[in-house]
């Protein structure tokens, strides 16, 4: 696959950007997010996070046989589920 392939469409993060992050030695989705900005746009990682996790896992597997059972966690999901205007919350109650 071309390294110019876009993984995160919201923030224009390419496959090459992620590969670079992995080459440095990072192996968690939280770190990939912070290093590239992946998953910080309007979709909040709904499109790109699984790809980032898969790339982290593949990198871990090449680190050595002891990493074969490694688990990659998703990054923390941030509310709201979809972008929502402040006005809705200004009319709302403090608890659901």
């Amino acid at each position: 696959m071309s390294t110019k392939a876009i993984v995160c469409r919201c923030e224009d993060v390419t496959l090459a950007d992620i590969q670079h992050t992995l080459e440095i030695g990072y192996r968690t989705v939280e770190e990939v997010k912070r290093y590239t900005g992946l998953g910080t746009g309007p979709c909040e990682g709904k499109e790109c996070m699984a790809q980032a996790a898969r790339l982290c896992l593949m990198a871990l597997r090449t680190d050595g046989p002891d990493k074969n059972d490694a688990v990659v966690e998703p990054f923390t999901s941030r509310p709201p589920v979809q972008p929502a205007p402040l006005g809705i919350f200004a009319r709302g109650d403090e608890e659901p």
């Binding site: 990072y26 205007p85 006005g87 403090e94």
Partner: protein
């Protein structure tokens, strides 16, 4: 990040012996590590429990201001902002530093006296803060409903920055000078060993002549490892980011009575938070609807046009709250060689540039700045506290 400026964290076990072990790889710990290395103390080991920017250093709004209510804080922040302005040059990383000023708003007549007193103090220190009538504040930020405010004050030299590259910059420069930065490395025990300490970590043991506790909201746990009880406690502070807008908002705007603050980042997002009570104990990073509704009500009342502005995400960071709003520094009684750099009450990020520099100067054999004496742990037992009133959140 420019090629060649990557942060490659240290792999494998920490070195067997070091001069200084720093617990906490946030802005304070990494800042001190960099400043020590710069002064020739290179056998430094930073031990971070998570990833870089996992704690409050990666979760704050990036505000830096000189508008404080005590002379010590005003003067320290003048120097800190000067260091922020020179950061890109010195460290080689763009931190998106933008001096658009801080505009504080008073909604109640009774807040005017405090504001005037603070402005007078800041002017005496050479900070160009000035009082503003509501109309003048409205000229600076036309989106404000100025019928809600009675007066304002503005310092054009305050600003905002992006916290993540700030951390990376310190980490990169520290690593380049031989400092070890260990991520995902927890410290589970600290034992006395002659004049120094032996630390047990998830990656092995390391002997350190001196130890610095820069663990932020987790610092009471770390202090307990050497038998020291700290009076600070964690407090959840929530914050949110909106969809990006074309740049239009010059200053960071903050409301004294509610603790609401909002600024526009260089990516165009509005980054905003507000004071919300929290009864939960310990470090809590969950998001609450109560925060969204509290913030939205105050924000939409003050800036009606923001009713249509979409929230992208909310998150939380842990404040490290000290009883008087001032940090806790220096060596606690009875544990020489163990140094505290905690209790910054949500303002550790903006104070880190100057505090880390002063700390390194002192530990490298230079002068001990008066802030270390003033902010000693024993002030609480002695009852010598000066309350800081300009705490937000």
């Amino acid at each position: 990040m420019k090629p060649g400026h990557e942060i490659v964290p240290t792999q494998g076990a920490p070195r067997a012996e070091c001069d200084v072990a720093i617990i906490g790889g946030g802005v304070m710990g990494l800042g001190i590590a960099y400043q020590l290395a710069k002064r020739g103390i290179k056998k430094v080991v930073v031990l971070e429990r998570g990833y870089l920017a996992q704690g409050a250093s990666g979760r704050n709004g990036g505000g830096v201001r000189m508008q404080w209510s005590t002379e010590q804080n005003v003067r320290l922040m003048q120097e800190s902002i000067e260091l922020c302005a020179g950061f890109a040059q010195e460290i080689g990383v763009n931190i998106w530093f933008r001096q658009g000023g801080y505009l504080f708003l008073a909604k109640h007549e009774k807040e005017r006296a405090l504001m005037e007193r603070n402005v007078e103090l800041q002017n005496r220190c050479g900070v160009p803060t000035r009082m503003m009538a509501p109309e003048e504040a409205g000229a600076l930020v036309p989106e404000l409903d100025i019928s809600k405010i009675v007066c304002a004050c503005y310092n054009p030299k305050d600003g905002v920055l992006f916290p993540w590259p700030f951390l990376w910059g310190y980490a990169h420069q520290a690593l380049k000078r031989g400092v070890e930065v260990h991520l995902f490395t927890n410290v589970s025990a600290i034992e006395r060993d002659g004049s120094g300490f032996v630390l047990t970590t998830t990656k092995g043991r390391v002997r350190a002549e001196r130890v610095i506790n820069a663990a932020g909201a987790w610092s009471p746990e770390v202090a307990r490892l050497v038998g020291v009880e700290l009076p600070n406690h964690p407090h959840r502070h929530e914050i949110l980011s909106t969809e990006p807008l074309k740049p239009f908002l010059k200053p960071m705007v903050s409301v004294l009575s509610s603790g609401l603050y909002f600024s526009q980042s260089m990516r165009g997002e509005i980054v905003t938070g507000i004071t919300v009570d929290d009864d939960a104990k310990g470090v809590q990073l969950g998001s609450r609807l109560k925060f969204l509704t509290t913030l939205a009500k105050e924000m939409v009342s003050l800036v009606p046009r923001f009713a249509d502005l979409k929230i992208l995400r909310q998150w939380a960071g842990p404040y490290d709250v000290s009883p008087d709003g001032h940090p806790i520094l220096g060596e606690p009684p009875g544990v020489p060689g163990f140094f505290l750099a905690c209790g910054f009450v949500g303002h550790g990020f903006m104070m880190a540039p100057i505090i880390s520099k002063l700390y390194a100067e002192w530990l490298a054999g230079g002068a001990k700045h008066e802030v270390f004496e003033r902010c000693r742990l024993s002030r609480f037992a002695e009852g010598k506290m000066e309350k800081e009133s300009m705490i937000l959140g």
